[in-house]
């Protein structure tokens, strides 16, 4: 009886399809249109930049994109001081991802522990509040004093700037668990581990992805700063060397690589969030 009524609700999608079919003039959906406009905007600015760079601007400050591209190719093949761009990218990414892994392990564990235990939260909360509010990047010199100039201090600085966003968001995610869902799992005899795996972790996912997005952005700052203090290879070092030698084209190669990396990571995580959160779209309908 009632199920047939609900079946009718399900077919409520049909009129919407009819609408789309009726207006054939509009080829693009609004979201696709936004994407096209966005891409046009980027391409347009690059063209403007190229024209201004060729005729108006001092190439020492703002070299045109084609000149940056030429320098990019040079850096890939020959590099500076025997270090190619590929080696720079590998050196930076290694430290970046090692730092990220460390930050996930430490920030995740501490965040979960703070959400699980009131005592642990009370002990750590003031420290987390203070350190989270401090620009931790300012501690980078200390790490370089302790670990020396090398990959260890780079990893440490990256981990330091990434750990707090991860910790704070993990804590929020695991302390906002819906108690009634936990109880439902408990009523089936779920162990503590099962409650984490089947209820608390899936509930925390939006927070965890937000944590990664923040951490990813902080980490890019961390890697550059740590390399500015000294390194054998890396994008930060490339930027430093280029600036010291008035190689503004090389400087822009470094900046654009960082920007591209940040964009790819952000959009990758957004796509992941959309995939994991696809159930949420169904809820908005109600």
């Amino acid at each position: 009886m009632s199920s047939t009524q609900l079946d009718d609700d399900e077919t409520g999608l049909v009129p919407i399809r009819g609408l789309e079919g009726g207006s054939r003039k509009r080829i693009l959906t609004p979201s696709k249109r936004s994407a096209v406009i966005g891409i046009c905007s980027i391409v347009g600015v690059f063209i403007l930049w190229q024209v201004l760079g060729m005729f108006v601007l001092n190439p020492l400050f703002l070299p045109p994109p084609t000149a940056i591209w030429d320098r990019f190719i040079e850096l890939i093949h020959t590099g500076v001081r025997g270090v190619t761009l590929g080696q720079d990218i590998i050196a930076s990414s290694q430290a970046y991802f090692a730092g990220l892994a460390l930050a996930i392990v430490i920030g995740g564990a501490v965040g979960i522990a703070m959400a699980a235990s009131r005592v642990i939260r009370d002990i750590l909360d003031p420290w987390v509040a203070v350190l989270n509010a401090t620009p931790t990047i300012a501690l980078a010199p200390i790490f370089i004093l302790v670990f020396g100039l090398g990959v260890t201090s780079k990893i440490a600085v990256c981990a330091l700037v990434m750990v707090f966003p991860i910790l704070v968001n993990t804590y929020s995610g695991f302390s906002n668990t819906d108690a009634s869902l936990v109880e439902a799992a408990k009523s089936f005899g779920a162990s503590n581990r099962q409650i984490y795996a089947k209820v608390k972790l899936p509930m925390a996912i939006p927070y965890l992805i937000a944590a990664l997005r923040l951490a990813a952005a902080h980490g890019l700052v961390g890697i550059v700063i740590s390399e500015l203090f000294g390194a054998n290879a890396g994008i930060g070092l490339l930027i430093l060397n280029s600036a010291n030698t008035f190689d503004s084209r090389g400087l822009f190669v470094g900046i654009i690589i960082l920007g591209a990396a940040g964009t790819i990571i952000t959009y990758g995580l957004l796509a992941l969030e959309r995939h994991l959160g696809r159930w949420r779209r169904s809820e908005n309908g109600e």
Partner: protein, 276 residues
């Protein structure tokens, strides 16, 4: 008993509750939710629990499930004391409590999964149950896409999936419309007849309790005690027509008479202390 997993569908047995007392320490003074409940439920009996709000019926179910520990007294099932929730008992909450990020079929397998049944086996079982509750077409939907009634049916399928020996139902149909409610009632009776599990069914609807149960237990309000224990001697299998018989009306009136003063008392308390 279980075809799915020998660990499930544990032996069960009679439910024996002795001097069960539960005191909550919230706010300034302790609240006695249940005060010395004695109850024996033979295996396979369908018991309706009624009483004014605040009579501790839900607390009683939660104690039997092992979700909360008694202050005093004991609960045993087949002689074994209840200490924690287990696969021999299935709890149906009033709100459906579906995990919103899981599809309907993956919600139904939750209890099986927790008890170590392989996902593939569990899903096959869940699909079977979803067919029975009329949600076969919606197994891949998310709970947010279903109506309240459909979600509650999925919730029942989830509790049934573990093949409990005791089904604890806390006003499971309170949020449903009349039509869906009657459908669910007859479906529950069919399942119960087939499975012969013990059922403790909390409801505010006296006719629902009389229609479903072998026995209706009336709780007093704060503190919760057993005020009356009425055997419902109506023939089975019961159909909706039975609700129009004189015998049915007599039982409803009898239960109502016991409950009436409790409701008045509870309303008086609410007027005095504000809504709880």
């Amino acid at each position: 008993m279980s075809q799915i997993n020998p660990a499930l569908g544990a032996p069960g047995g009679d439910l024996v509750v002795r001097r069960l007392t539960k005191v909550f320490q919230t706010g300034d003074e302790p609240v006695v939710a249940l005060d010395g409940i004695d109850l024996e439920v033979p295996e396979g009996q369908f018991v309706g629990l009624v009483g004014a709000s605040g009579s501790g019926k839900s607390t009683f179910l939660r104690l039997v499930d092992g979700l909360t520990a008694p202050t005093e007294g004991s609960i045993t099932i087949g002689g074994e004391p209840v200490t924690r929730p287990g696969a021999d008992r299935g709890f149906v909450f009033q709100q459906d409590r579906m995990l919103p990020w899981r599809t309907v079929v993956d919600n139904v397998i939750l209890g099986l999964e927790i008890n170590g049944v392989k996902k593939k086996v569990a899903r096959a079982k869940a699909r079977e149950l979803l067919q029975i509750v009329g949600l076969g077409k919606f197994e891949q939907s998310f709970p947010g896409e279903l109506s309240g009634g459909m979600r509650q049916r999925a919730n029942l399928a989830r509790a049934y999936a573990i093949e409990p020996r005791i089904l604890l139902m806390d006003e499971p149909y309170a949020a449903l419309d009349g039509q869906t409610r009657e459908m669910m009632q007859s479906w529950l009776l069919d399942m119960w007849q087939e499975r012969q599990a013990t059922v403790l069914f909390v409801t505010h609807q006296i006719d629902e309790a009389v229609y479903l149960a072998d026995r209706v237990v009336v709780f007093t309000s704060r503190p919760g005690r057993i005020k009356a224990d009425i055997t419902i001697d109506l023939p089975r299998p019961r159909t909706l027509e039975i609700k129009r018989t004189q015998a049915f009306a007599d039982y409803v009136n009898e239960v109502w008479a016991h409950i009436e003063e409790e409701v008045k008392e509870s309303m008086r308390l609410e007027m005095e202390h504000g809504h709880s």
